[in-house]
Amino acid sequence: MSLRNVGIVYRKELVDSLRDRRTLISMIVVPLLVMPLLTIGMGVLSIALVGIAMREVPRVMVLGGEDSPGVLAELNKLSDLEIVPAKPDYAEEISSKRIRAAVEIPAGFEAKLAAGESSTVKIYMYQGELKSGFGADRLQRFFSKLRDRAVREHLQARHLPENLARPFDILETNVASAEKVGGTVLGGLVPYFVILLCLTGAMYPAMDLTAGEKERGTIETLLCSPVSRTHLVIGKFLMVLTASIATAILAITSMAVSFGTGKQMLLSITKGAADPSLQITVTPKGVVSIFFVVFPLAVFFSAALLALSLVAKSFKEAQSYISPLMILVVMPAIASLLPGVELTPALAFIPVLNTSLVSKEIISGTFHWNLIGLIFLSSSIYAGIAIAIAVKLFQREDVLFRT
């Protein structure tokens, strides 16, 4: 292996690519923009949206309750709920978001309450809709208080202690750090973006250095030089890898900075009461570890993209080959976001999914070193196979001069 020849090819490709606007955008601009947008942007946006939803006074419908005037009067007195006249099509009203929720008070509710008889209050809502959830919550809170008050009154009337109906309390306490809580929520999303950017960063150079070279007719001239084809393809591969690694480094750095800045910003916006899921701290150890597991994946992507683009006759054809690869990469990355998918030794052998899962754990502060090592090893094997294929393809005339 002549390092001099590889170096000559690499330097030329580096200069050439750094003058290509498309490469610069995918390699530098995108990672620098995506991470702050993803963290700070999404954080600020979600806080703003939740704030707006919380400030809204939900319109709710009360169905029935004509024989329970006391309850109705108390409901009407609530300042954080707007009671609208009952209509039979309340479900449609909720679905079409004209009202946020409805409550059905059973016949003889007050009388049964006074007599200590059981009855059921039904709350209707739009599951998953934030504002409907707030409306239903407020109704739920009102009726819970009413139930507690009724229980208290019954116990007092019978001269029984209040805690008879509540012999013990249940207190749920989070022991995971904010870093871990945040890691499980946003932590899945971030590796997904780092992996995706790693791929997109390598995409343009890979196509330009192979299919682009065929399209411009420069490949013939290049093959006339005494530098061996292996040296040529290795030089090209190193340039594609540089683009991929540069994108990954920028994405990871931008992510760490965004989390740091984003955390401060969110805390100042919410006056220290930001949802822990939005507070993520990525330690330098985490950054280095993510880079460690992403590196062999970047090698794999670079070689695979180079091999695929090499088969194509033109830039356009290369794009059509690479699009399915994008889907192949996105699918396991998305699978890592599914609830309950956890890193196991078997999953450590599935490319992309393994890196995505381990990065998620690293962000939440968990370091399974044996699995990290296994993932590095398996990704390195895949990367080695992809490089061998790319080198082999570069020796084939039917690939280089496909018509």
């Binding site: 000559i8 050439d16 420069t218 013939e220 030089s225 530098v227």
Partner: protein, 265 residues
């Protein structure tokens, strides 16, 4: 000529002679491709010819005749399916890298890297040919001066005019001082002025003692330049000789008519 005088001689002797006189010798070159639609296609079928140092050999043929494939085999870009060629004393199959170091290849497309400057382009190919920095500087200075390239040396290739691109391409081809020049339809798609530059350049190569093989389907270029002509059609070399020899053999003076007669026969 020397080889013809010698008659049937051994491969090693041919190699020694070819090295001595810096020549090209194609020996029964065959190239078959596999095509999905057409099956196995024989692009070049048993082509043999030779070209001496300081001589221009013109490969004359229509589109798809097998000219480019033959030249690509001589330049070691493609490997022959059968047969071989000795270029500047080295076998294209056994020593492709040695052949490449001695060959300058120029095709119809200027084939430049648009984002590199004219100087960077020539530098890159000089380095790929293993030139040390001092030799490279010296060669580039001479080439830039001879081709009057000083004005646009630092301009990106995609911003150059066709004429300027041609000059960069020529400088790129000559930077390693090749003894053998291979031109694949070098004037294709060029205007009269640009084509004249190329024709002048080919002539200068001969005067400099280089061995030149070039392919074309432009009859006037063949008449102007070639010492020897090979008419290729359907992958086969149908006729070969100097222009007067071919005229005498066919009894036709006009080259175009001569070409059609050979091809149709």
């Amino acid at each position: 000529m020397l080889l013809q005088i010698c008659g049937p001689i051994s491969y090693n002797l041919r190699r020694i002679l070819a090295k001595k006189i810096g020549m090209i010798e194609a020996l029964h070159l065959v190239k078959r491709f596999h095509d999905k639609k057409r099956g196995t296609v024989c692009a070049v079928d048993d082509v043999s010819f030779s070209c001496r140092q300081g001589e221009i050999y013109g490969l004359l043929g229509a589109n798809g005749a097998g000219k480019t494939t033959t030249l690509r085999m001589l330049a070691t870009i493609l490997t022959p399916t059968e047969g071989t060629a000795i270029v500047a004393g080295f076998d294209v199959i056994k020593n492709p890298q040695m052949v490449r170091a001695r060959v300058g290849f120029l095709s119809a497309a200027t084939a430049l890297y648009g984002r590199l400057t004219a100087q960077e382009m020539v530098e890159y190919f000089g380095r790929l040919h293993g030139l040390d920095e001092d030799t490279l500087r010296e060669r580039m200075e001479r080439l830039f001066e001879r081709l009057e390239m000083q004005e646009f040396l630092n301009r990106r290739c995609d911003k150059l005019s066709t004429g300027m691109k041609q000059k960069v391409s020529i400088a790129r081809t000559l930077v390693h001082n090749p003894t053998v020049m291979i031109f694949d339809e070098p004037t294709l798609g060029l205007d009269v002025m640009a084509a004249r530059t190329i024709v002048k350049f080919i002539r200068e190569c001969r005067e400099a003692g280089k061995t030149v093989v070039f392919s074309t389907h432009v009859m006037s270029e063949v008449e102007k330049l070639c010492d020897k002509i090979g008419i290729i059609h359907g992958g086969k070399l149908l006729a070969e000789g100097t222009l007067p020899e071919l005229r005498a053999r066919t009894g036709i003076q006009d080259l175009e008519d001569l070409f059609v007669k050979v091809v149709e026969a």
